[in-house]
């Protein structure tokens, strides 16, 4: 059942560029998938392991800068640059995890916030590497052919497929990681860290591994951002707004679920776009109000809620009640 649903979803994703030639819609789809990737990587750590991070912008920015710098200074094509952005972000997360995982709960969350801010300041001031506040702009992407056809970087399709591939691989990785031993460890840590430790789980190692995986996928999203938007500056890729939006997507979608982030990303992007279209000035008020309602009435997230309703409906059906 789940497999069929996943299959249908993937086929739909692959076919989307053929279903529409509306370029703006594809642009939105790309943004949705990018945020999905962000949300699901945050969800690995925040949803499954219960370690709330307010600093994922750091990994996003590191991924974005890595990809841009490799392309601009070394001439490394983005399809190596994007994965390397993920790798660098994962490596970057190791010392952070080492330091921050000594702290728990709100203290951990605050320390991640500080790390993101420090990273932003480093990017702002390390001018020889990052060009500081001026930022890095790329004007052309390299010529490349895929299956014998030259890729048109001016169109949306190649970017759509790249980010779709990244997002799907992120979801699959979440699915398999969380079905395995690590997933059980993380849930144990989330529910009671001391109890988990007392039954012999190496909690620090489990958390650090998860953080690295989470940073890896966030770094991929960052690298993709650089190549798609073609301009990065410290205020664009390291702001707290990115960290917060990531948290929102995971929370609104449904914490600790595989599908939650995509639901959250679709929902929030659509809602934000609709509100902005209808109210030029007041849209943030409605957006904020909307977020409050969701959090108040659906604390388990949209997907979490839908799953529960679906479960109730099935149980009700088998009992034969109306």
């Amino acid at each position: 059942m789940n497999r069929i649903a996943a299959g249908v979803a993937i086929v739909f994703l692959l076919a989307l560029p053929w279903l529409t030639d509306n370029q703006f819609l594809l642009h939105l789809a790309i943004i949705v998938l990018m945020w999905t990737l962000m949300g699901l990587s945050w969800n690995l750590l925040g949803g499954y392991a219960g370690q709330v991070s307010f600093g994922h912008a750091a990994f996003f920015g590191v991924g974005a800068y890595t990809t841009m710098i490799l392309y601009l200074k070394v001439g490394l094509a983005p399809w190596y640059g994007i994965p390397l952005g993920g790798v660098v972000a994962a490596l970057f997360s190791l010392p952070i995890g080492y330091l921050c995982f000594r702290l728990r709960g709100p203290y951990f969350a605050l320390s991640t916030l500080a790390v993101a801010e420090i990273t932003r300041l480093v990017a702002l001031n390390w001018e020889t590497l990052t060009a500081g506040p001026v930022g890095l702009l790329i004007t052309t992407l390299p010529d490349v052919s895929f299956l014998g056809r030259p890729v048109d970087w001016e169109s949306k399709e190649p970017f759509f497929y790249i980010i779709a591939l990244l997002a799907v691989s992120g979801m699959l990785a979440t699915h398999y990681m969380m079905r395995g031993r690590l997933g059980a460890y993380l849930v144990a840590i989330r529910e009671d860290e001391d109890a988990a430790e007392s039954v012999g789980i190496d909690t620090t190692r489990a958390k650090a591994l998860t953080l690295a995986a989470s940073a890896f996928f966030t770094g991929l999203a960052g690298g993709f951002y650089g190549m798609y938007f073609r301009y990065v500056d410290p205020d664009a890729v390291f702001p707290i707004a990115i960290s917060i939006e990531t948290v929102f997507i995971a929370v609104v979608g449904g914490l600790g679920t595989v599908v939650g982030p995509i639901v959250g990303a679709v929902f929030l992007t659509t809602v934000a776009e609709t509100f902005r279209e209808r109210f030029v000035v007041g849209h943030l008020i409605f957006y904020g109000l909307f977020m409050m309602l969701v959090i108040r009435f659906m604390p388990e997230g949209i997907w979490g809620r839908a799953r529960r309703l679906y479960g109730r409906f099935r149980k009700g059906g088998s009992r034969g009640a109306a």
């Binding site: 642009h27 001031n125 001026v134 943030l284």
Partner: protein
């Protein structure tokens, strides 16, 4: 449950019917920050655009067609600026873009405009990078950041005895601050002026006393300060004066030194502080004066750089649209407008407009940058709470006070 559903349905329905049916107009798209920290600037541009649009339409529009400016909010966020630009180009099918407000967002818009072959007339963002990357679809009327200090450079070169013996340069670490400081320092070094302090600070610094203590130790002849934020400009000047700095001239660069709050908050401390001000048209020109009065009558405020830039941009666009042969085919019309912009040669309240390619003060190769930009730089001075142009003479409103009477003899 049912009632909740019906309320939701009602809300959704209201959304759909409130969508406005657009008449056949020539559409201009303008991404601007309408919410968030930069919202006051979005508001300024909105006022300027609507006044220009009203005037042009009342005078018969463009070859009989009405023009319309569609503003979309980018909240001063780069990715959102890109999304909004995409939307204006793909969904709303605008013929040309303008606006942008801050440099980061403008770079995104420029990059998208270039790729989607839609002209973009930059009206305010000043980062050199926007017209220094060879984007042939991007045009800029206002001067670039590195051109800002030109009037100051002229003043110290031309006024007798004004060349600094030494200078301290303090700037915020934004694109704006860095660009202006680099441009000013490059020029000073070429004149063998000793830069005794080169200090960058983060935006919204609360205490400038540590920096000013360092500066005082070097006893600079000139103190050059760059601030994009108003509070930084005010606090920096206050702390410099409180720490007893007495240079021959305090020279401010950037928005923070050119707004009325600067004089209001500082009172007598603002007296004789220079502002290498953003250009907002020649105040001695009667047409510019008439515009100032008309704007003030309509909105109750006197226009400054932003309003003048926004207002002028719409006139430049309308002029190009008039000369372009519009067919109704969006892609062709965009190209026709781009080609018309290349031939623009006109005068607005902002000043003369003609786009060309040339080298900037820091060696950047500009594309489609207003060739008159180097003249669009003016040195002004605060006098009894008013910012008056003092140099160059052609645009001066009063005589320059130099050296500062408060300086050490």
């Amino acid at each position: 449950m049912d009632r909740r559903f019906s309320i939701a349905a009602l809300v959704a329905f209201l959304f759909f019917i409130t969508g406005t049916a657009a008449a056949q107009t020539l559409k201009i798209g303008a991404p601007q920050p309408m919410t968030g920290p930069d919202a006051p600037f979005g508001d300024k541009f909105q006022k300027a655009y609507s006044m220009a649009v009203e005037e042009i339409n009342a005078a018969g529009g463009v070859n009989g067609k009405q023009i319309e400016v569609i503003i979309e909010d980018h909240q001063a966020k780069n990715p959102l600026a890109a999304t909004v630009a995409e939307r204006l180009i793909q969904q709303r099918e605008v013929l040309i873009l303008t606006g942008g407000r801050a440099s980061g967002q403008a770079v995104e818009i420029a990059s998208i405009a270039q790729r989607l072959k839609t002209p973009y007339l930059v009206d305010h963002p000043s980062a050199d990078i926007i017209t220094a990357k060879g984007f042939e679809w991007v045009f800029r009327n206002n001067p670039t950041g590195s051109i800002y200090p030109q009037a100051f450079n002229k003043f110290i070169s031309e006024a007798p005895g004004a060349m600094p013996k030494s200078a301290a340069v303090i700037y915020d670490n934004t694109v704006f601050g860095k660009t202006i400081a680099n441009s000013a320092m490059t020029f000073l070094k070429s004149k063998n002026v000793n830069i005794v302090n080169d200090e960058a600070y983060p935006v919204n610094t609360l205490d400038f006393k540590p920096i000013m203590t360092k500066v005082r130790g070097n006893n600079p002849d000139y103190v050059l300060m760059v601030a994009v934020a108003t509070t930084d400009a005010i606090l920096m000047t206050r702390h410099a004066k409180e720490m007893g700095l007495k240079p021959r001239a305090f020279v401010g660069f950037g928005g923070g030194f050119g707004v009325e709050d600067f004089a209001k908050q500082l009172g007598p401390l603002s007296e004789n502080v220079f502002s290498s001000a953003a250009w907002s048209g020649n105040p001695n020109d009667p047409k510019v004066k008439a515009f100032y009065e008309k704007f003030n009558k309509k909105y109750g405020i006197y226009p400054k750089e932003h309003e003048v830039e926004g207002y002028a941009a719409i006139y430049i666009i309308a002029d190009a649209m008039k000369r372009a042969k519009l067919t109704g085919d969006v892609a062709k019309d965009r190209d026709a407008i781009r080609r018309a912009l290349l031939k623009t040669d006109m005068e607005t309240v902002f000043g003369k407009v003609k786009f060309g390619n040339y080298k900037g003060p820091l060696g950047d190769p500009y594309t489609n940058q207003n060739v008159n930009s180097p003249e669009h730089s003016v040195l002004a001075q605060w006098r009894k709470g008013k910012l008056l142009n003092v140099y160059p003479k052609a645009n001066a409103e009063t005589d320059v006070v130099f050296p500062d009477p408060a300086s050490k003899k």
